[in-house]
């Protein structure tokens, strides 16, 4: 491997066979993925899928049972690299006896933010997460949502290159969620890679460039949002199509019929005209064709369907 071409070095995150077992529970099972730099990566899965465990493995809070991982080109656990990483835990708690400013100041020191930059960084963080007017209040007086905002501010100190956000809007109201989505998009524009853990499909669909869907510790699908949703479905209103015709179109995708409507799942977009031509060739009469708008939610449910 030459320098500058290996995924370990180039990507923001690269994992190979990362696994974590808690006794009999395989919380993370053979996770192999690559997160390119500068993208928003959605890590999507139902409760208990292994999202938080994956983030803890990546941040070095927990040790893998097997497998390897690299962050920003360095193996997980490399201490200087941690200075370039931000983290908002799912369980966000900050020193209740400190004020918001003091918590931020502490994390500036911890993250080795140069003395001269601390004041501006803290002010910017407070404004960004909307806590400027509560800066000097004790954290213990904060609502859950405010603490989560503070946590987001903390994770952005020191101009990190990679930020892990574990369910960053779990305690926020709809307005707060929108604000956080905007912040995430803004981070990407600054070239920051965002690893977003979420079970909120709309959130992920709105901001992520790339998604991995995890279920029971295993990645069941990953790719760009277009790739994931691209395996779309086509609905065709058709008459005069017999059983043999149904058989003949099987290579295009899974076909279902309900009265006059034929649904074909998994048709690549560029093959849709071919499918229609084939139907016509078979002697069927096509009345209407529409693209099934598969949402991430439908795709998600489909992926998690248990046989």
């Amino acid at each position: 491997m030459t320098l500058g071409t290996s995924p370990e070095i180039d990507s923001a995150i690269h994992t190979v066979g990362l696994s974590k077992a808690y006794g009999a529970v395989r919380a993370v099972d053979d996770l192999s993925m690559t997160v390119p730099r500068g993208e928003i990566f959605g890590f999507l899965g139902p409760n208990g899928a292994g999202k938080t465990t994956s983030v803890k493995l990546l941040t070095g809070l927990s040790n893998p049972t097997s497998g390897k991982a690299w962050l920003l080109g360095k193996p997980v656990g490399d201490v200087p690299t941690r200075g370039r990483i931000g983290y908002l835990p799912e369980l966000f708690r900050y020193q209740g006896w400190m004020s918001a400013v003091e918590v931020l100041r502490l994390h500036c020191e911890l993250a080795d933010v140069p003395m001269g930059r601390r004041k501006t960084e803290i002010e910017q963080a407070l404004v960004l997460v909307g806590l400027a007017d509560r800066a000097n209040d004790k954290v213990i007086t904060f609502s859950k949502g405010m603490q989560q905002r503070l946590g987001l501010g903390v994770s952005l100190l020191g101009k990190p290159d990679l930020v892990f956000l574990d369910e960053p809007t779990s305690a926020l109201d709809p307005v707060g969620r929108k604000e956080v989505r905007d912040i995430i998009v803004e981070l990407r524009s600054r070239g920051i890679t965002v690893f977003l853990n979420s079970h909120l499909l709309s959130e992920v669909q709105q901001v992520c460039d790339r998604v991995a869907v995890i279920d029971r510790g295993r990645v069941v699908a990953q790719g760009t949002m277009a790739e994931l949703l691209g395996a779309g479905e086509i609905r065709i209103q058709v008459t005069d199509l017999d059983e043999a015709g149904m058989q003949a179109i099987a290579p295009f995708g899974q076909a279902f019929r309900s009265d006059e409507w034929l649904t074909v799942v998994g048709v690549a977009p560029e093959r849709v005209p071919d499918l229609i031509a084939e139907l016509v060739r078979l002697g069927a009469r096509v009345h209407a064709v529409e693209r099934g708008r598969q949402t991430l939610e439908e795709r998600f449910i489909q992926l998690l369907e248990r046989p």
Binding site: K56, T59, G60, L61, S62, N63, V79, P80, T81, R82, G83, I85, Y87, L88, P89, L91, F92, R93, Y94, Q95, W97, M98, L106, H107, E109, L110, A111, D112, G151, V154, S155
Partner: protein, 285 residues
């Protein structure tokens, strides 16, 4: 090193902010005032007219009793400050955001330890000196080795605090606290067992007690503290009454701990810290 100091300062600030220090300080002030009143009464009325050496003996013994109670409070406070400061931060999640920063777990743990040791040493020094001053003003008595007393008292607290730190890397706050205090009581009983064993020539008691003294050198350090408070006359009298060895009481010791035992205690603290760091490194958070 910078990060260790950062955590040390943080720990100290937390103790001050959370008013733990003030509670302890208030309690100490109360003891100081009560002992001033009590000793004054003793000298002015209770023992008026008795010989100077009798008064000196009584005073030194009362001082030892006060300090004995005080050493218990100190141990309790050390445990209740130390255990939550690690185990609690893990449980609540405060540690999550901290330990993903460019700091090692050893720095985090050592920083806490340094902060707690500085707090302990400051507090023990101030409170002990204040009590000595009170005793001196009321009775004219000064214990023979006040600085040695402070040293042993700090050492005893550092021993218990280090154990609490080790335990808290693995256990939940309450369970951890109970275990360390249980150990502290056992070590104290071990000291009593050795005394009894010596007195009545029961080897099993001496062996058992000696083992606990090695496993947890809190009582051993207390014996050094007690010895530092005993006037020579009191020791001579005890000798004349036939006591021997390390003493026949939790409130008395005929000799200070040996240099070897003090060295063992130092090594013990270092060893426990090393174990704590090891344990904490492997801890899943």
């Amino acid at each position: 090193m910078k990060k260790i100091l950062l955590f040390a300062k943080l720990t100290m600030r937390e103790a001050v902010r959370k008013k733990l220090i003030w509670v302890l300080g208030g309690l100490t002030l109360l003891v100081l005032v009560l002992s001033a009143i009590g000793l004054n009464r003793l000298v002015e009325t209770g023992m008026k007219g008795q010989s100077e050496s009798d008064i000196l003996q009584a005073t030194s013994f009362i001082l030892i009793l006060i300090m004995f109670a005080y050493s218990f409070v100190l141990a309790l406070s050390a445990v209740f400050i130390t255990v939550p400061s690690i185990a609690g931060e893990m449980e609540t999640g405060t540690a999550l955001a901290i330990l993903t920063r460019p700091v090692s777990r050893a720095q985090f743990l050592l920083g806490k330890w340094v902060g707690l040791v500085v707090l302990t040493a400051t507090y023990v020094t101030v409170a002990s000196l204040a009590e000595f001053v009170v005793v001196n003003l009321t009775t004219g008595y000064t214990p023979p080795h006040p600085l040695m007393f402070i040293g042993f008292m700090v050492a005893e607290t550092v021993v218990i605090l280090s154990l609490a730190l080790l335990v808290s890397t693995r256990m939940a706050p309450i369970a951890g606290g109970v275990i360390v205090l249980g150990g502290f009581m056992l070590a104290w009983m071990g000291g009593v067992a050795v005394s009894l064993g010596r007195q009545f020539n029961v080897d099993a008691l001496i062996t058992g007690g000696t083992i606990t003294r090695m496993l947890l050198p809190t009582d051993g350090m207390w014996k050094g503290a007690v010895y530092s408070l005993e006037p020579a006359a009191l020791i001579a009298m005890a000798r004349a009454q036939g006591a021997d060895g390390i003493g026949n009481f939790p409130f008395f010791s005929l000799s200070p701990p040996s240099a070897a035992y003090v060295a063992w205690t130092g090594a013990w603290i270092v060893g426990i810290l090393a174990l704590a760091i090891r344990s904490f490194r492997h801890r899943e958070i």
